[in-house]
Amino acid sequence: MSGSIEVHGLSRVFHTTVRRPGVAGALRSLVNPERVAKHAVSDITFDVAPGELLALLGPNGAGKSTTIKVLTGILTPTSGEVRVAGVVPYQERERNARNIGAVFGQRTQLWWDLPARESFAILRDIYEVPKAEHAARLKEFDELLDLSSFWDTRVRHLSLGQRVRSDLAAALLHDPQVVFLDEPTIGMDVVVKEQVREFLRHQVEQRGRTVLLTTHDMTEVERLAERVVLINHGRLVLDGSLDEIRRRFGSTWQVRATLADAHTDAVALPGIALLRRDGPQVVFGPDGPEAPTVNSALKAIIERYEVTGVAIDEADLEDVMRNAYAQAGAAA
């Protein structure tokens, strides 16, 4: 139970007023407003185990932030059940607050007019963290995020990368079991991104924190997440490993093999199609929905044929996700 996230049948409906176009439409909306129900998330179920990093993916407006807002206790679900570290967040906001940390992209929780270190001290007292514990944790975060080079600077003067690093530290200073990160590296340069990823990896692997990450950065997903939940139009499309998502939506790999004997008969293998042949050069590709991953295909090809060279053209995760979003969008 400790540090786990449980989401069962989560739905959230917003009721909004439709604004009709034009001046006449706006006036009509004033007199006779048309209310519509918008299903931000519908019947979503997934779990995150303690110490696991899960990437919650989906195109803009898919329902990721709504899901996170319910999990952090900001929103109450229309139906369904949610537990974070054993607590129903929207029923026990304060208790939940002690168990979780959150970073919402470029939205800082630091005090704009004060040095970052002063914000850390305020949060230490708000969360009632003992001074020695706070100092030790701050030292650890400083080693990983290089905070001391700028923590005496007022937040309004920090660069985006410095601010997000400070925000990450601020979110974790009270040692939360569960961390919610909503696009934490958006707009950051590659060096800082890598530093943040290393920090997150450390928090998951060494500190055993449960992390729920939303991002549009597929490199981040590849480097950090083993498991992915994909939602679109508020519905869960896929819950599985990166391999699985590649298998389902990443059907664009090709293996180009050079056969040792140019006269060998090349045939298709289970789930692997023979796309073309030019002398000893043979090109294989995925065949059908049960096609293996590129690594499994490569293994099968090498086992079946004697090859002198191979080259792989694989769709990167960006292509895979584009494909996944398109298919999920068409299905919805």
């Binding site: 917003f14 932030s65 807002k69 607050a97």
Partner: protein
Amino acid sequence: MAALSAWRVARVTPLGELNAPPRMTGVALRLLVQVVLVASLWHGLYSHTGTTAGLGESQAVTYAVLAVLASRLRELDQFAGRDTVIQHMHFGTIVYWYLRPLPPQRYYALRALGEQVYGFAWALGGYLICLAAGVVEPPGSAAVTGVFLLSLLLGQWVLHYIMLATDQWCFWALRNNSAILIIIFAQNLLSGVYAPLWFFPDWFVTMSSFLPFQATLNVPLSIYIGRIPLSDAAGQLAVQAGWVVVLALFTRFLWRRAALRVVSQGG
């Protein structure tokens, strides 16, 4: 530990201001200019008359200068520190108020308290200088001082709730610029910052008595200058306390409703 967090949160505004000396210089200059101009204006108005609206020259000048100094008690320092409700709604950072083990209403109250104490230090400094320079008269007696301070405390409490309700409006309208302009104008006019309420017609004074604004400044300042005698002060203090209770209940209700409307972020 709770006291520590209260202290830390309350001192955010003073600390932010101390980190920005140009802003402090600006405040000092503004107060100086306003006090000089207001004192000159009221001396000028009384140049050909002895008593108007029941106030003598020194009473009127004292009232007007104290009103200027009191207006410093609650300024928009939080705005410079990007910690107002409207800014948090605009930037989507209001969510953090709901992610901490410190409830938003307590956080807001502590921030306001810190701002108020910081403003009081400015007002007190200005008052002592004006007193030494003979610009304002001292209170009539120790009893007047005590009742004035109590009335000022209640008045600032009323003002706090008025400002809070204006900020809470952001949860519905996302912005409160117009509401703030209306409130500031109403507050300055109906509390006696522009001119003591005693100068307005009877119907205006009667109307003001049904609104909370006159409880914020007009009552304490009138007690200070002796326009409200101590024998009548108890009733005025009771009215102020009544406003504190009514507005406290109202804003408490609004906090509960506001918690259901933290939707400034995208979905």
